[in-house]
């Protein structure tokens, strides 16, 4: 206990969803993710959202491993405090890595990533917030998926379509100069794992979802 007390948690990042601290868990470097209360929304809604997402994140981090996707090891979950203590993954965000490497490097990352999403979707696991800042690549090139707080287990094609559509949107807004190639490579990687049939169906669903949006040029009544 003394050791823990000495090790004051260090604030790593204050995100919109949660605050991340680096700490120590029985001698191991740990990441403490706390979903802080949001004063702007009603208390009951706030509590409901924070505990729901904490539980789901824990479950999905675990289930993703079963699907063959690397995620941090969970050390402890404290639902009332909306806190998860997990393994600290050494590496850089895929968001940064994509900007640091050349075309070939990007292709490899995106193919890899598509494969991981394919593995999740084959088990009907939906990440729910696929952005390139929610993925970490370690020094061996292994990609870890994080932040499953908006995820769910869902058999509907719709959920898979939205999942990939969100990644596409994230690529468009964050990696606007090469997003198209990236997304194409993601789909190729996805197809290799999930198979042609599912990929085609999901791809069709993505266009359908996009047409539902407002002010989309491709939409025709």
């Amino acid at each position: 206990m003394d050791e823990l007390k000495q090790q004051q948690p260090i604030l790593l990042k204050k995100g919109a969803e949660a605050s991340l601290y680096v700490s120590n868990w029985h001698g191991r470097k740990a990441l403490v993710k706390i979903r802080m209360p949001k004063k702007y929304r009603p208390e009951s809604l706030d509590k409901q959202i924070r505990s729901y997402r904490t539980i789901h994140e824990g479950q999905l981090l675990h289930q993703a491993k079963g699907a063959g996707v690397a995620t941090p090891l969970i050390f402890m979950i404290d639902v009332p405090e909306a806190t998860i203590i997990m393994e600290y993954i050494e590496g850089v965000q895929v968001k940064q890595q994509l900007n640091m490497v050349q075309k070939e490097g990007r292709r490899e990352i995106c193919l890899n990533l598509g494969g991981l999403i394919g593995k999740l979707h084959k088990e009907n696991l939906i990440h729910g917030d696929l952005t390139t800042s929610n993925m970490i690549i370690d020094n061996q090139g292994k990609i870890f998926l994080l932040d499953f707080g908006l995820g769910e287990k869902n058999v509907a094609l719709e959920a898979k379509g939205v999942d990939l559509h969100l990644l596409k949107r994230a690529l468009q807004s964050t990696h606007f100069s090469f997003w198209e190639t990236c997304f194409k490579d993601v789909l190729t990687g996805y197809r290799l794992v999930a198979g042609g049939e599912l990929t085609e169906k999901v791809y069709e669903k993505i266009s359908e979802i996009e047409k539902r949006g407002r002010y989309i040029e491709e939409r025709r009544q």
Binding site: A16, L45, T131, L150, V162, L166, R169, F176
Partner: protein, 345 residues
Amino acid sequence: MGNAQKTLPIADKGYCLGVESTADDFGVGIVKFDGEILTNSVDSYIPVEGGIHPREAARHHAEVADSVLCEALTEAKLKPKDITCIAFSMGPGLGPCLRTGATVARALATYLQIPLVGVNHSIAHIEIGKLKTGAVDPVTLYASGGNTMVTAFESKRYRVFGETLDIALGNCLDVFARHAGLKNKRGLPLGAAVEQLALKGKNFISLPYVVKGMDLSLSGLLTAAMAQLQKGSYSLEDVCYSLQEHAFSMVAEITERALAHTEKREILLTGGVAANKRLQSMLEAIAQEHEAVFNVVPQRFATDNGAMIAWAGALAYMQGIVTPVEESYVKLRWRVDRVDVPWMN
């Protein structure tokens, strides 16, 4: 701002007259190129019942166009020949309404033999917001009857970081209000009626809360709120309160996400729903939390208006951007992230 851009020498003095007609408002505004707003006249179509009927709205616009135009010029103490360029909202919006405004603008430009500038309506909202509040590079939440999006400037354009996957926030509140039998009155829009009722709500009812990544979906919430009303176990005030709390928490959450993601230091709230005090207070709390500055656009510049079109037109014109009349067709689904904004560089 059109597909084919003609480049003119850069100008810094003059007046731009802007015509706005994307939906129910027909507006004409005149701005000086240094940002002084000389006038902002508007006449709104109010449906007898139901929502905006595009054809009826367009008919209204055609009927009031000349009087709004005259009012604007008189108030600005300008003669038509003093105007340097004509701007109009080229999209996105309702086809018949857009075409009416575009026709007025083309006629003026042709008659006065001055350049025409097609303006993206969403960009105009952001630019007038920055002009009126002094925000420089904000994360903007633009929430109205037809739009709900969170944008921020990144590399040449306003990028969309989050948006609705189905209906707009204002649309959600309006449809609910009509379902509850509230009537649209001059001076009291339906959204304001919901806001007033929500203040008296006491019970918080749990409704669907749908945030998907940085995007949100409001149609399920609307259906659930209408079903609650039908069921009758809670008062209208309670349902209004719960609907607002859920919907605003969702847009606030995606705004916060965009703010954290882009690491910008300002929030700008605009669009018709910007008038809502509860939404303002939520965003203000977020701004405080992230040590950012919260800005809300004054109401007459937050709802659709001609001055914003004139200002965005002036900004484009000063960069040498004009739209040839033969290429000035309206674009009903012209996304904000399809347009370069060279004046931001």
